[in-house]
Amino acid sequence: MRNRTKTQEYLTAFVMLLPYILSFCVFFAYPLVKAFMISFQNFSFLGDAPPKFVGLANYKEALTNKMFLDSILNTLYYSVLVVPTQLIIALILAVIVNDKVKFKEFFRTTYYLPTVTSPVAVSIIFLFLYKTDGLVNQILSHIGITPRNWFNEPSFVMPAIVSVAVWGSVGFYMVTFLSGLSTIPDQLYEAAEVEGAGEFIKLIKITIPLLKPMIFFNTVVSFISTLQMFDLSYIIGGSDGGPMGKAMTMVVMIYRTAFKEFNMGVASAMAFVVFGIIFVLTLIQRKFFGEEMSY
């Protein structure tokens, strides 16, 4: 074994990695490069006209498209509503489930279940729940709130989608918080108890500071996933973005431009604008949480 040369070792490594490298090139690197090229072209995959280089025209068109700009605002609105709500609920649930609750395995499983359900199925079920004569309205009518079609009114559609999103993904963040909680040594809590600290003080002084890396991780992941939201909005609002376009997100807009208007160039340009937005926002969060955070 000792006389194996470096080259042989590299070769072995290379062969082992080959399946991944191939799939990476075919399904990730190539489409990425191609999409970047298309974002500078007048590109149509119908007919035999060759793509034409148009410089920054696609980016200009994307950034002057009111519907796209609206979709950016809608998405940010969605993110700002979802991320904190989701994380706070997830953290509270994690703390409760981590503690001395009976049947905690059962609760862990139930709260995690929506996460493994297809978002499409979830959206369709909520379409029924939020209908004018759906369950939600029937319950609300008992406390004197007039029934309305929540997904069909401009000012309610996004908050309604937010509620679906939070319900559907809170379990995932709960589980990551749980794994973080298990790394906090019990002695700290015991020491705190000896000093006379209550539950709330323990949460503020021990749990949250020690969970900081986990909170950062979850914030970033949650932010990125909300900025890329597609399925809920598409199923509930369609490619027109629901009532008055209020449910239109950035990714639905890319889909609409690419596959409804067949404007591949502009759609690719939009995709890179979205990439830029996510990149910048993630950098900002990194700054906010301190750069020493290693996740």
Binding site: L11, F45, L46, T132, G134, N149, N152, P154, M244, F262
Partner: protein
């Protein structure tokens, strides 16, 4: 290392070459029996049956041609364009009037003129307005398979309870009736809030939204007509199926959530499927406006792919489907109107209670707005939405703004 890579690459290359030869050979040695693919969107079982019957009849005439229906579920245009991009599209397929020019301009459809000459098919036999969306720069690209018009469906029982005896004939009556029929549980009228339903009101008022080659956005007469229809929504005597919590107007009408609806002939088989007895609803022409009657005609044509490997057979199939032999089945089924004039006469005789559909054809506008069709529809639909549920009350200004944004 390098050697190994070279060998690997050569191997992969050789393998793909062999695979290529294998595939090529298959085609060369194919049996004399050929298979045509016919692309259709998913529709009701009754509609599917027509095509199946037509194909069975066609196979009897041409035993060496097998026809396979490729049913496209979901967004038809999107999937069709993806199929085309990968060059796996069917030989002939349905083409809606709306996007027709977009395909034609991209040069992916086969012009049919030379084939029509060769096999003696004349455009004069078809209802003339139906061909308009499929003629581009003087060339014919599709032959209409059938068409449908919008009519007014009304619930006879609800009419009786409200003391009404017949369908509304004028705008005033439409409004009056809708008001009378609206109760806590039922809305007078339901229709989609979109150009394809609202447009007839523009023409009924003597305005237009399309002049034959390009869209007209702010004809004052048209705007006045559109406003009349949109105000029905504002007054709450007309609602969209979505507002009623229904999947589409058909459901809303069948579930008795609305007393009247404006929809096409495809409602009839749907109501049959829902077991709604025929004498429970009536079918009437759309109420006339100040300038007379108008309605929409929706047409679908058969077009041929430029990449088809069996063009002569594909054209023979189109000729059969849109000719006397195939149109017979369209008449028999009574779902849509036959595009062949000679067959249209038989339709009205076979289905007297559906006469309104045929009568409408005489003054109908085809659902078609040229090359920018999708954008035109978008401009109007969004403006309608703003006007009805938004806060922008100036329809004209709103349309102008949207035109500036979308149409360049």
């Amino acid at each position: 290392m390098k050697k190994f890579l070279t060998i690997l690459l050569t191997l992969i290359f050789l393998l793909s070459l062999v695979a290529g030869i294998g595939a090529a050979q298959k085609d060369v040695f194919a049996t004399s029996k050929i298979t045509l693919k016919l692309g259709a969107w998913a529709s009701s079982p009754a509609e599917k049956k027509i095509v199946q019957n037509q194909i069975a009849a066609f196979k009897k005439l041409y035993p060496n041609v097998d026809v396979k229906i490729t049913e496209i579920v979901g967004d038809y245009n999107q999937k069709m364009q993806l199929l085309m991009a990968s060059k796996t599209e069917p030989d002939i397929f349905y083409m809606d009037s709306m996007p027709a020019w977009q395909y034609i301009a991209k040069n992916v459809l086969e012009p049919l003129d030379s084939w029509m000459k060769k096999y003696n098919v004349k455009t004069i036999g078809y209802e003339s307005s139906l061909l308009q969306p499929f003629i581009y720069k003087g060339k014919v690209y599709g032959l209409p398979k059938d068409y449908n018009t919008l009519v007014l469906f009304y619930n006879k029982e609800m009419f009786k309870q409200a003391g009404l005896t017949q369908a509304p004939k004028t705008w005033q009556e439409l409004k009056e009736y809708a008001k009378k029929l609206t109760t806590d549980k039922v809305v007078g009228l339901t229709m989609n809030l979109e150009l394809a339903r609202i447009q007839p009101f523009a023409y009924q008022n003597g305005g237009k939204v399309f002049d034959g080659s390009k869209p007209v956005f702010t004809d004052p007469k048209a705007l006045e007509g559109l406003k009349f229809a949109l105000d029905l929504f504002k007054e709450g005597i007309c609602k969209t199926p979505k507002d009623l919590g229904a999947g589409w107007v058909g459901d809303a009408f069948a579930d008795k959530k609305a007393a009247m609806t404006i929809e096409g002939g495809w409602m009839i088989p749907f109501l049959n499927d829902r077991k709604i007895p025929k004498d429970q609803y009536g079918i009437a022409e759309l109420p006339a406006g100040p300038a007379g009657k108008s309605t929409m005609a929706f047409t679908v044509a058969y077009v041929m792919s430029k990449n088809s490997k069996h063009k002569p057979e594909a054209f023979k199939l189109i000729r059969f489907l849109t000719g006397e032999g195939g149109q017979k089945y369209v008449v028999e089924a009574g779902l849509a109107l036959p595009s062949l004039k000679s067959a249209g006469v038989n339709f009205a005789k076979t289905y007297p209670e559906r006469k309104a559909l045929v009568d409408g054809a005489k003054y109908a506008q085809v659902y078609f707005y040229g090359l920018d069709g999708t954008k035109v529809v978008d401009v109007f639909n969004k403006a309608f939405e703003d006007y009805v549920i938004g806060k922008k009350y100036d329809l004209k200004k709103n349309i102008e703004e949207r035109v500036k944004q979308i149409m360049k």
